[in-house]
Amino acid sequence: MTQSPEKIRCDACPVMCYIAPGQTGACDRYANEAGRIIRTDPVVLLSKTLQGGGRVVPFANRNWEGDAFPADTLITGIGSGTTYPDYKPAPFIIASVVDGADMVTVVTEAIFSYCGVKVKIDTDRFLGPEGATVRAEGEAIGHVTTAEYGSQMLSLGGVHHLTGGEKAEGRATCAALLALCNREAVELTIDQGSTIVAQAGRAPIVDGRPENRMRVGCGSATIGMFADQWHGLVDEVVVVDDHITGVVSEHQAGKVLGWEDTGIKILGRRSTPGRYFRVSEPGLGWGGTSISDPLQILGPWNPKKGARAGLRLLMVSTTGEEFAYFELGAALVPQPKPIPEALLPSVKLIDENCEPSLCTVLFMGGAGGSLRSGVTQNPVRLTRSVQARETRLTSGGAECYVWPGGGITFMVDVTKLPDGAFGYVPTPALVAPLEFTLPRAAYLALGGHAGAIKTLAEMMREGGEYPTGARLQPQAGALK
């Protein structure tokens, strides 16, 4: 059989169809449109001005209407396809004018075997020891790392779990990372710790109990914020906290207001006046401690230092979620009493000042290797340009933080990307969209694929290396 010259071989999959003009390959997804291979799945474009749901606009439409794309259209890597291992230029290389500057954006979907997620879980509760293994489906996928302000931190994924261990470990890691990045809920168990359900942008669920609020501050900070409001209404306030438990009568904030001594004794390690470390083990009780009865952190009351029958004591956690009111009996033992109405507003205020507890997920990946040669013929210059902030890196249109040092290692908040932005390949590795934007002159200077640059208008008319359709979405928020 003789091949007529206009037939072209599609290299999108191993079938390697010969496709004549106007025909599609065996998949019906790639076609020969006037001598070039085009693809039918939509590439995602973002617009801030677009209201409501997404809409689909075909590329290469003969009856093209001028206003099909809003003026602020931003092209993303989602659905762009990839030319991995990048023996040819990236699927979309687009020139546009931004604020009068001639800019080029190179768009691709990158395959990351070096990647992971950092999960910040807003809770003071103890989730497991630092360094403890975190598991999904029973497989080790990461570990508990150093705690941050009001939050417990997990470091998940990474190349050793993805491709360095057993097949099952890599698969479970990839599945968990993909679900977290696409803002789905994932159950994680921590060795010698809790079982948590983590979902980006939602409250964490710890051992079956949803977390509501972050603490307003540590126990000492809480005393500082509210001492004034308690003065005159109660004789002593203890703010129970796993980190620093505060006592108003001893605390500098109380002293300034003229609080009198109460003869209270806290069973913990005193740091500075009115501030105590380690009143209990960390746990799921009051203020991230393991206690459910706050009186167990109190020792005997000392009458020589001000303890007296009828003394009024408020104990409250750093989130205001737990509180109790006591009065000292004749034997100087605290007796539980209903909390006076006048104290309720201050407890409520603690609660109100707490921010909602969230799980937040940052995807972290390294865009090195051959991906860069889809962008430029001199890969290391791209790295340097990104490092020098000359090239702006975005992922699915979302701002990235580029880590200093070698390589293009970046982090991005997964809630800032459109739905379903992440995918995976069975390697196992994650697929994430990437866009590099830089001045045209700079792009050419670093060895960019000059011949592959299209104007935004050309891209809208003709599509990229493969796509023939585009999906327009509002740029941020409410994409569901």
Binding site: Q3, C13, P14, C17, Q23, C27, R171, G423, V425
Partner: protein
């Protein structure tokens, strides 16, 4: 070259896609996650395995074949010779059967299906059944039951991605395997025809898809108006072929659709959806 793509869909369904293969997979029972992992593992390299023997699979003359899927395809189409057929007539069903077998290996699935673009391989344990809806006038439902041998469903016709030599809107077949159903649906849809009728436009397959295994054989590209009598005649031609296949045990049942008319035969368990009748 794009790699195989794997994604989860709503309803805990697994989506596998590579080139022309698009699988929607669902399972229930114990070890579903393991079954899905086995499906993904089998899917890796599957297309390359098929493509390594693509020329032989596109050949109407039987060729020696190495791959297990290729051999399944060849076995499924062999009973239909001497009529023109290539193993490609069973490719979708054979892929579905292969992935389903990989999923069921050593797992405790109660029910499962692998839907390869309408060619469906089904797994059932005792007392289980699976109901599928047929997008056709009357909105019929097709039920596979454990006590009957059919585990494959396939549909062929003018509306599909593959070319048809006949004029059927759709022919749905149930058979022991998806590969057998796939091959039989192709052959029955080809037989739903009115040879020489002026309302039927045909073109050589090669003119539509340069690589087609059908070569210069004419395939239907357009269909003009037909009388009720002509529709009945075309369906009768197809039904005769289907009855012959059923008589030799190649198929368990078939439903043939053309415009307003429909024929069913065999133990298809085609149930009308009462709300819509």
């Amino acid at each position: 070259m794009n790699a195989p793509q794997v994604a989860m869909l709503s309803g805990n369904r697994l989506h596998l896609h590579h080139g022309p293969i698009d699988l929607i997979i669902w399972a229930e029972g114990t070890e579903v996650a393991r079954a899905y992992a086995q499906a993904v593992a089998r899917f890796e390299g599957l297309l390359a395995e098929l493509c390594s023997e693509l020329d032989a699979l596109r050949n109407p003359v039987p060729q020696p074949l190495q791959g297990p899927i290729a051999q399944r395809m060849a076995a499924a189409v062999a009973p239909f010779r001497p009529a023109f057929v290539t193993p490609m007539a069973a490719v979708a069903g054979a892929v579905a059967d292969t992935i389903l077998a990989a999923m069921c290996h050593g797992t405790g699935l109660a029910r499962a299906y692998v839907n390869n673009g309408g060619d469906i391989a089904v797994h059932l344990t005792p007392d289980q059944s699976l109901t599928t809806a047929i997008a056709a006038p009357g909105q019929a439902r097709l039920v596979l039951r454990h006590n009957l041998p059919a585990r494959g469903i396939a549909t062929s016709g003018r509306g599909g991605r593959s070319f048809s030599r006949g004029i059927a809107d759709a022919v749905t077949v149930v058979a022991r395997t998806a590969a057998m159903a796939d091959a039989a649906a192709t052959m029955i849809a080809n037989a739903v025809d009115l040879p020489g009728h002026p309302a039927i436009t045909r073109q050589p397959a090669r003119a539509l898809q340069a690589d087609s295994d059908l070569g210069d054989i004419l395939v239907t590209t357009a269909l003009g108006p037909l009388t009720q009598g002509e529709i009945a005649q075309a369906l009768s031609n197809g039904e005769a072929a289907a009855r012959a296949f059923a008589a030799t045990g190649l198929i368990a049942g078939a439903a043939l659709f053309l415009h307003s008319q429909c024929r069913t035969l065999g133990d298809l368990s085609l149930e009308k959806e009462h709300a819509l009748v």
